[in-house]
Each structure stands twice: as structure tokens, then as C-alpha cells.
């Protein structure tokens, strides 16, 4: 309350005594040599993300949910597998258990990506942003790069921790060191979380609303995590949804030599499709940003 009172009070002394000139004008040089303007935008946008609580909540949620769900799934496999027929045990893919948590943890990353742009529109700070950086392309690129940094860090931390936890919990069923596809799956999972975040950012820029973006994205991705991509009739289409295409590289799509699960693309092509989705969403977001009045 004290703070409020002092904030409301007009600053009395300096203005009256020394004249507003010296109070308002900078005491030091404000115009230093101009560095790279894009670097300045990225620094500013990183400052923005670092000074909002939602950044930490969403990224922490992605970490906890992914690692937690993987631990649960791994635990259930470890307790149930000994009682399964040998063929089942032989077919068990420890990478499936390892990355299963990503299907739910990705939703928190999507929220982070949507909020990175969505809060600008909801709070009206988009105007402050574009006043500071009127070159809209530069602002947008800075925003995307800035959002990519914490999401990539969170993705790497999440994926590596998930692997360690899964290994410990699976015990005898753990991924053998140097197993086929392990490194690809790790890279794929990291790329999946980072790219999906940026895809969500693009959608939010496209729709100019956090609420609408989340209403559009979360149901689709939640159903996807519940196996929408594996429903036979729907699979022809749903396998190409942005959260689905990296399932092959993460070993979440089932054995690819089995026609019941096989997808029409390979692991890296799947990553490539997500890259295309991401680029499309980001470009769409830019076109809207460039044309619309703020």
C-alpha cells in the first residue's frame, strides 16, 4: 500500500527545483553505437520470456509431465512384461516406453509456444513491441528465435532426463547401449518438442489470439496422443498431422514392418514433414502480422 501511495504522488522536488530539462534528459549517453538490431530484438524478447512466470510454468510442466508419464509407462511394462509370453517380450520396444511421455508433455510446450505470441495480443503489449521494433519482419524473426532458445533447452533437458529415467525404471528391459535408432529417436524427440512449439507460435500469430489457438490445437494434439493416428480408417489423413509425423522416429507409431501400423513415410521424412508444418505456420503468422493493423 505504501508503494501505491508513493507511486501516485507527483514527483515534487527535482522537477520544480532544477527544471524538467535535467530530470527528463538522460544523464549519460542514450545513443551508444548501434549494434546488430536483430540481436537487440532477440535480447529484448528473451528478457520478455524470462520475466513472465508462465514461461517457467509451461516449460516445467512439459518436463514433469513427459518424465512422469514415461516413468509410469516404464514401470507398468517392467511389472507386466515378466508375465507375458516370450514373443511379447521379444517384441517389446523400450524406445516406445521411453518416449511415450512426450505425447502428453508436448501439450505444455504447445501452450508455451502459443503464449509467446498470444499474450502480446491479449495484453495489448503487441503495440509496445511494434513501437520498439517497427520493422515487423525483424520483430517476428526475433520473437521466433527467442522462443526457440528456451524451448530447445527444455526439450533437450526433457528428452535426456526421460531417457535416463526410463532406463533406470525399465531395468532388465532397458534400451541396450548403442541400440538401433536410439540416437535418431533422441534427436527426433528433441526436434519434435522444439518444432511443435514454434508451430504453435506460428498458429498464434496467424489467429492473433491465445485462446483460439489453444482451442484449435490442444484437442487435436490430445486426441493424437490417444492414438488417433492409429485408427485405421483415419490414419491416411491423421498420420500427417503435425504432432504425428515424428512418431516414427520416436518409435511411438508401432512396428513399421507391420502393415497395421506402417506409415507412408520413414523416420526422417516424418521430421521433414513437421519442419514443413512449422515453416508454413510461421510464414502464415508473418503474413498476418505484416498486413494487419496492430
Amino acid at each position: 500500500m505504501n508503494g501505491a501511495t508513493s507511486g501516485e504522488r507527483a514527483p515534487s522536488g527535482p522537477v520544480a527545483r532544477s527544471g524538467p530539462a535535467r530530470t527528463v534528459a538522460a544523464t549519460g549517453p542514450v545513443s551508444r553505437t548501434v549494434g546488430n538490431p536483430l540481436r537487440a530484438v532477440v535480447a529484448a524478447e528473451l528478457t520478455k520470456l524470462g520475466t513472465l512466470r508462465s514461461t517457467y510454468w509451461t516449460l516445467a510442466a512439459a518436463f514433469v509431465v513427459t518424465v512422469g508419464l514415461t516413468a509410469l509407462i516404464a514401470l507398468s511394462f517392467r511389472t507386466s512384461l515378466p508375465h507375458q509370453p516370450p514373443q511379447r517380450q521379444a517384441d517389446f520396444d523400450p524406445l516406445f516406453a521411453t518416449f511415450y511421455g512426450v505425447t502428453l508433455g508436448q501439450l505444455a510446450m504447445v501452450v508455451f509456444g502459443v503464449l509467446a505470441v498470444g499474450v502480446e495480443y491479449r495484453s495489448g503489449s503487441i503495440r509496445a513491441s511494434l513501437l520498439a521494433v517497427p520493422h515487423r519482419g525483424r520483430w517476428y524473426v526475433g520473437k521466433v528465435l527467442a522462443a526457440a532458445v528456451p524451448s530447445a533447452v527444455a526439450a533437450v533437458a526433457t528428452v535426456l532426463t526421460t531417457l535416463v529415467v526410463a532406463q533406470v525404471v525399465l531395468g532388465p528391459y532397458a534400451v541396450p547401449t548403442g541400440a538401433d535408432g536410439l540416437s535418431a529417436a533422441l534427436v527426433g524427440a528433441g526436434l519434435h518438442l522444439t518444432l511443435l512449439t514454434l508451430f504453435a507460435l506460428g498458429v498464434a500469430a496467424l489467429l492473433r489470439s491465445a485462446v483460439w489457438s489453444l482451442s484449435a490445437l490442444l484437442p487435436v494434439f490430445l486426441l493424437g496422443s490417444q492414438g488417433l493416428g492409429n485408427v485405421p480408417g483415419l490414419r491416411t489423413v491423421t498420420q500427417y498431422l503435425p504432432d504425428q509425423t515424428t512418431w516414427v522416429i520416436m518409435h511411438l507409431a508401432g512396428p513399421q514392418d507391420d502393415p497395421r501400423w506402417a506409415r507412408e513415410y520413414g523416420p526422417w521424412t516424418g521430421v521433414g514433414i513437421l519442419v514443413l508444418w512449422t515453416v508454413a505456420a510461421l510464414v502464415g503468422g508473418y503474413l498476418v502480422l505484416r498486413r494487419r493493423d496492430a
Binding site: G28, A44, T51, L52, A128
Partner: protein, 304 residues
């Protein structure tokens, strides 16, 4: 110096700004006056590159706003107090602004004390009162020590002390030789603050003149008449070419005429009057009259 040339903005079939041309000069406070909905905010957003003009251009010291890579060091703007994220601390709001334009961090502390928010710098913006949020907006505008400043309705929501503070601040900034452009829908406020006035309504320029000249030309006042036979008096005055209106208190108001002339007409037509008095018009009323004339109808409502 701000040069607005043939500026136009249309939203579908609605023309919000209709070919505005004027120049805002440094070293004085220029008031941008017009009723709500006149197109002031739209014009200011176009000046600042937030809205795309449908035609025309705005040059600020020779360049469009969007052409500057560190605009905050050249132009400071206060648009609306809501432009800071409520979850961010005041200090951090100014810090990201400073970083975006490569303004040293020390300047953040400096402007926070200029606007009197140094003690609450670590509080989240969402906990601020409207007055404090407005001060934070002023701090953001001053951050880059800019030679050109734009304020959109800066006194909205401020208490009398805050209003006086803003007024002195703007006059001080102009005295330093800066270009200060401030919008308002309150003529009385502008009369106290502005040296020069740009008056618009419905997107069109009505006046571009010194404040003193504007006041002298448009606040001639009126003669107030209390009478038991208002209809007859109306006819008499109208017959003499005098503009008459009925006031809400039942009196008549005659414009552009001396009280003595009204007295002569009254006596010549043997009318009964209870009171004839000169009333120097309030500035606000003079302004509304001008706006009303331009719109082809006597004064209109819809003010805040």
C-alpha cells in the same frame, strides 16, 4: 518535426481519417484536439507505424517511423496505459524496451525516478492503479531521451496532481526544444497545455492555429436571456439574423450578438424579459460549437 501529408485511413466504407495535412513543430506543445471518434488515435497509430495508412504519409524528422531501427531513441510515445503485460514487473517492462533499442540499463532506473515509480519498480504492472500505469507509459516514452514525443490522451484517469504533473512535464519537454504532440478531447485541458492546436473532427482538419488565436476566434460567448415568452423572442432574434438556442435551464442563448443589441430588439418588439446577461463561453463549449458547425448540426453528444 512531424509532417503529416494527405493522410487517409478507411475501414471498409468508413473513412476514419480523411486527407489530413499538418505540421507539428519543435519547441512547443501542439495539441491534437477532437471529440472522441474524430480519428485522433487512428492518426497517431499511423504516425507510429502501427496502422497502415490507406493513403498519404507521415515523416518524423524526415523519415517514416518504420524506417528507424532504434525508434525509441528518436520518438517516444504514450498510447494506452494497458500496453504493458500485467504479469511483468515494471522494471522488467522497461528493461526489455531498453534492450530492444540498445538503450543502457541505467536509463531504466533514471526514468523510473523521473516518473516517481522508483519505489514500486519491482511490483507487477497488474497491481498498478491507472495513474501508476500511466506513469509507467510516460517512463517508456522518455526511455530513449527522444527529441519527438507523442501522447495520446495522457491525462485520462489521472488525479488532479497527476494532471498537473503531466502538464508540467510536457511543457518542460517542449521548453527543451523537443517536439511534443498531445491528443485530447478536452479543450480546457489543451488551453492550459498547448501552444498550438490541430483540431479535427470526422477525420478532417478543422483548424491548425495558435491556441490563443483559436480561443479568441471561437469563444465569443453568448447572451443569456430569461423570458416568459421564449417563442416570440426566438422569432424576433432570428428575424434579426441572430443565432438562438434554448438551454436546458429554460433560458435562451443568443450567439454573436451584444447584450445591448438584444436589449434594443426586446424593447422595440415590446417583449418581457427577466434577465439579459453576457456569458463568456466556456472553452469546451466553443470547441463543441466548432465541431457542431463542421458536422452541420448544433453540438453533439457522445462525450465521455
Amino acid at each position: 518535426m512531424i509532417e503529416v501529408r494527405e493522410l487517409r485511413k478507411r475501414y471498409g466504407r468508413v473513412v476514419a481519417v480523411d486527407g489530413l495535412t499538418f505540421t507539428v513543430r519543435p519547441g512547443q506543445v501542439t495539441g491534437f484536439l477532437g471529440p472522441n471518434g474524430a480519428g485522433k488515435s487512428t492518426t497517431m497509430r499511423m504516425m507510429l507505424g502501427l496502422d497502415h495508412p490507406s493513403g498519404g504519409e507521415v515523416l518524423i524528422d524526415g523519415a517514416p517511423y518504420r524506417a528507424r531501427s532504434a525508434p525509441l531513441r528518436h520518438v517516444g510515445a504514450l498510447l494506452d496505459a494497458g500496453a504493458a503485460h500485467p504479469g511483468r514487473r515494471a522494471f522488467h517492462h522497461l528493461l526489455w524496451l531498453a534492450r530492444s533499442n540498445q538503450i543502457p540499463r541505467s536509463r531504466v532506473r533514471e526514468v523510473l525516478s523521473v516518473v516517481g515509480l522508483a519505489d514500486v519498480a519491482r511490483r507487477r504492472v497488474g497491481t498498478f492503479s491507472l495513474g501508476m500505469a500511466q506513469r509507467l507509459g510516460v517512463a517508456a516514452a522518455l526511455l530513449g531521451d527522444p527529441p519527438v514525443l507523442l501522447f495520446d490522451e495522457p491525462v485520462n484517469g489521472l488525479d488532479p496532481a497527476g494532471v498537473r504533473w503531466i502538464r508540467e512535464l510536457m511543457r518542460g519537454l517542449a521548453a527543451e526544444g523537443r517536439t511534443v504532440f498531445v491528443s485530447s478531447h478536452l479543450m480546457s485541458e489543451m488551453a492550459l497545455t498547448a501552444d498550438h492546436l490541430v483540431v479535427i473532427d470526422r477525420g478532417r482538419l478543422l483548424a491548425d492555429t495558435g491556441t490563443r488565436e483559436f480561443v479568441a476566434a471561437h469563444s465569443g460567448g453568448y447572451v443569456r436571456i430569461r423570458t416568459p415568452e421564449p417563442e416570440r423572442l426566438r422569432d424576433v432574434l432570428a428575424g434579426a439574423g441572430v443565432e438562438v438556442r434554448s438551454a436546458s435551464d429554460g433560458t435562451l442563448r443568443a450567439y454573436g450578438v451584444e447584450a445591448a443589441r438584444v436589449g434594443e430588439l426586446v424593447s422595440a418588439h415590446r417583449l418581457t424579459v427577466h434577465e439579459i446577461g453576457n456569458q463568456p463561453a466556456a472553452l469546451e463549449e466553443a470547441f463543441m460549437r466548432l465541431v457542431g458547425q463542421a458536422a452541420g448540426q448544433p453540438g453533439r453528444g457522445g462525450q465521455e
